[in-house]
Symmetry: C2
Subunit: 577 residues, 2 copies
């Protein structure tokens, strides 16, 4: 089904819609209606369960308005740009690299310099998509995608709306490492709003200016063992590595997590671990595994902070669209903050046993070196110090020879004051490396809706069905009285379900068929009908959305049955048996 079908249903049924529509709306800003907000929250909770709770990670909440210094250090101020060209005629702004890609067979114009893209606009005779005027000769500029604001009155400070939640974690590393008792590895997560002042937002929930990211910063020792892969070792990944992309058209590589690591396709074991966890999570929330892959970034495509990156991609209306990124950020961010701020962004790793380190040192006799070498004496001292560190063996003879400015100096070893000091060292400062699973929640919600929406036939009648997984559906059960006599009991059941955390909706309007259709369209997995037999046998009919199969269940057992189905502890087939 098309984007238009999804958008129409989303608006009519309260999943999402353009915000501030009464004032014409603003491109790139959407609101989630009651059903969309519930679906989104369920997707976020499933992420939290998978990447925070079950992994024993920490979750924090940091501000969305961030002072300039942080993004000066992280590099976002300099490099978080898109290429902008403005139409000289109508004044509309466009992504210059996208225009060039649309008119050529280039796939990665973003990695080019602005003047190269200017040339390509001319070479390919690109016109303004809005008014048709030629863009050849127009300037292509870098436009920073962060929203800027002023903090406080008067002598105000510049702030930016965060383009990712990650920096809010990374900048607090010195404190977070204390909460983790200074033990690596540990992970810190954040779910929250992020902002990208897109040049030309479009495509409903796909290219938006305000979005929700769910990000985990996995801190690990640079020389560490990596995680225990056992829990995800057998998860199969559909991988699209750079090699396959370069040999265009080559089939995907299907490998288990273990194989991907062993064969070096996903070199970093932490990255591979989280690809496995993500694969499980995407499936659980309703991304169709048949329309899903992990694509490795081409070298020119990597973000300024990433050493390696795999995108999670979903096929949506024939296009492959990024719905998550899995970056190996190495020590990029922590090293930058360490250099720019007043605090240390390292972790002190204590040795199991203190180590005795031998430090060769010199303490030259200046009353000899001064008169002997005159102006060169200071340079000779430096040379001796360097030599002691590099090659202490050089001090084993009677004389030591060093070269300074093409001149050679020989010094009696006894005059160098050479000695080997023994220091006891208790540990070392380590800058952890970071692997970052980053999930665009809005895009996942959109992908789930696209993959779920279908039309099929029931009893010769066409129906619209939203096949959302039971785990994330906004409403888990529709509860219907077939007769007026059953209305109170049905209302009571719907209330009991809802209060137990199983959102249920009561509906007594129209035929049962129409009520089913209504629930099918909003993705409610189960409908419970109380009919004229209910007072006699104390049972209700539970109907499965996808198969339309039915089963009669004791009324008292309905909440427990629905709860088990929601938690994935049983299946409808098992309940029927």
């Amino acid at each position: 089904m098309s984007d238009r079908d999804v958008v129409e249903l989303a608006k009519r049924r309260g999943f999402f819609f353009q915000a501030n529509d009464a004032y014409g709306g603003v491109a790139g800003f959407h609101a989630f209606g009651p059903r969309g907000a519930a679906l989104k929250r369920n997707v976020e909770d499933a992420w939290r369960d998978r990447f925070v709770v079950r992994e024993g990670n920490h979750e924090i909440e940091s501000p969305t308005v961030v002072p300039e210094e942080v993004f000066a250090a992280s590099g976002h101020l300099d490099t978080f740009d898109d290429m902008l060209v403005e139409c000289p005629e109508c004044g509309e702004s466009h992504r210059a690299d996208h225009l060039v890609e649309d008119e050529s067979d280039l796939e990665d114009a973003e990695s080019l310099a602005t003047d190269a893209v200017e040339d390509l606009l001319a070479d390919h005779a690109v016109d303004c998509p809005t008014c048709g005027v030629a863009l050849a000769g127009e300037a292509v500029d870098e436009f920073n995608l962060m929203f800027e604001t002023a903090i406080g009155p008067g002598s105000s400070q510049t702030g930016y709306l965060r383009p990712e939640t990650a920096q809010g974690i990374l900048v607090e590393f010195p404190r977070l490492t204390e909460y983790a008792r200074n033990q690596l590895p540990f992970g810190v997560a954040q779910v929250g709003r992020s902002y990208r002042n897109e040049i030309s937002p479009r495509n409903s929930l796909l290219r938006v200016r305000e979005l929700t990211l769910a990000e985990l910063q996995q801190f690990a020792a640079p020389d560490g063992d990596g995680p225990d892969l056992t829990p995800v070792a057998d998860v199969t990944l559909r991988l699209y590595p750079t090699a396959a992309q370069e040999r265009d058209g080559e089939a995907y590589v299907e490998l288990t997590v273990r194989e991907a690591v062993d064969e070096g396709v996903v070199a970093n074991p932490w990255l591979a671990y989280h690809l496995g966890r993500a694969q499980q999570w995407y499936e659980r929330v309703g991304v169709d595994p048949e329309q899903f892959r992990f694509r490795q970034h081409l070298p020119g495509e990597l973000a300024h902070y990433a050493s390696a990156c795999w995108d999670a991609e979903a096929r949506l209306h024939a296009d492959w669209v990024e719905i998550g990124g899995f970056a190996y950020r190495a020590d990029h961010d922590l090293a930058k903050h360490d250099a720019h701020s007043d605090e240390r962004f390292t972790l002190f790793r204590e040795y199991d046993d203190p180590q005795v380190v031998k430090r060769p040192t010199v303490d030259p006799d200046m009353s000899y070196l001064g008169p002997e070498f005159g102006e060169a004496a200071a340079a000779v001292v430096d040379a001796l110090e360097t030599l002691a560190e590099r090659d202490p063996e050089a001090f084993s003879g009677d004389r030591v020879t060093v070269a300074v400015d093409d001149e050679t100096y020989a010094i009696p070893t006894e005059k160098t004051g050479f000695a080997v000091r023994e220091d006891t060292v208790h540990g070392e400062h380590v800058t952890p490396h970071v692997v970052e699973p980053s999930i665009g929640i809005d895009r996942v919600v959109y992908a789930v809706l696209v993959h779920a929406l279908c039309r099929d036939e029931v009893d010769g009648e066409e129906r619209t069905r939203l096949a959302l997984p039971t785990a994330v559906a906004p409403t888990v059960a529709g509860v219907f009285p077939l007769t007026d006599d059953q209305a109170d009991r049905a209302r009571d059941l719907a209330d009991r379900l809802t209060r137990r955390g199983l959102p249920a909706t009561y509906d007594d309007s129209g035929s049962i068929g129409r009520r089913y259709r209504r629930q099918d369209e909003i993705g409610t997995p189960f409908c419970v009908t109380l009919d004229e037999r209910t007072p006699e046998d104390d049972r209700a009919t539970v109907r499965d959305r996808d198969t339309t199969d039915q089963v009669r269940v004791p009324l008292a057992d309905v909440p427990e049955t629905i709860a088990s189905l929601r938690a994935g502890e049983t299946t409808f087939d098992a309940v029927r048996r």
Copy 2:
């Protein structure tokens, strides 16, 4: 305990701390550490359960960046200001009204005009709190508290970070009313970040620039019956109405919700209903009812949109601090958006039966009126139309008399074309009224921490105890092995609890006493110890934080017991019996 005690504990134990500290931080921006984020989320979930789920209300998510037109309509652009005075010497910005209040016995300087506050700065010889220079003669300006930003490149649009979540609901009313099937009353809620560019932020979580609000817009018919008060009728409210405030020092009025409505102390029944619900909720999440009151706004204090307002206030370190507002916004916002936007912000209320409405009309015979009255004819027609509407009986005789400009005109009734038309009307457009419970989540979290933190003695040893309610504590159980043999079983139990949504922490370091102290300080209500007897009797010792009472529980029952305690279905005393 002091603010300093709370802030110190909060930082050391990961509740909250100034954000971006490595770069000196920015006043008014805080981050929640792992424990604070969990506590905050639990407080939000409890709010959602109380004000959304159990009330059958809708919840949405709208953008935080909002185009200017919305706030032009709502009035925030003009009136969401604070009074600013800048020091001529050091350049520091201050709230002029606060400075005046500090130096006088005025309590509500905010309601004064800027020039009156300028005069007061001089009269009371107010000095700059930063550098001590006199502020007499300095200009006091209105400073708008909304953060401003530019949306998109080039011909960009002005946007503001929302100062409240409410407008995101109100501006979508035309759509939301469809989702509610056009039936009043209905409620729409939102929980999310909001922003106030405070002139001088201070007091840890109390006066911040980025905050989380939980707001409900309760839409109701202006002439409706109000809610069924039964569920909250007997909830006792401690009220501090304007009359008591004006007679300074008068005791509070303690009334049930029913009494408050019947006696007219809280005139609006929807407002009274939500005060009752809020009272229950504040208690549940840990605000001490003995240090809590609802204070009615004085007339000069009301926000520009409010017809009436009660603040929820908590006593924190001897001050009364607002931790929620309950405003009757009447039709203020919907009427404004109706006037400013292209859509109608009304709800069409269909009558049960179509009504036949009689409309008296006139259709004067101008060929008679023209020659007869000359220049006065048009005015006579107007007068006849008005008369027909006001007093159709006047047309029952042979002649009708109207007065125009002190002159009286008599017209034969047959020449007026008087008739009574009958129109069938199916319903009417209604602008719903809004009652808004608005909760500042950060302030509630702070109040809960202040009211929970205490020192007491256990076995002659002083301990720091954070008496958080079981329902919202970030960790619900500490699990300790007393011997190494029990480590695996203890770890397994902690895992099982956590996966069941009962966050548990495993701790095997230090003496049992130290482990208890650690959990007491972070507010963990229960500790479970596995000891040398556990392999024999398959039981563990569960210890209650506040009483330090202990009970041995079968190991297999521990998760169920903790779950019941968390859900409030049982008490520790009941478990002991």
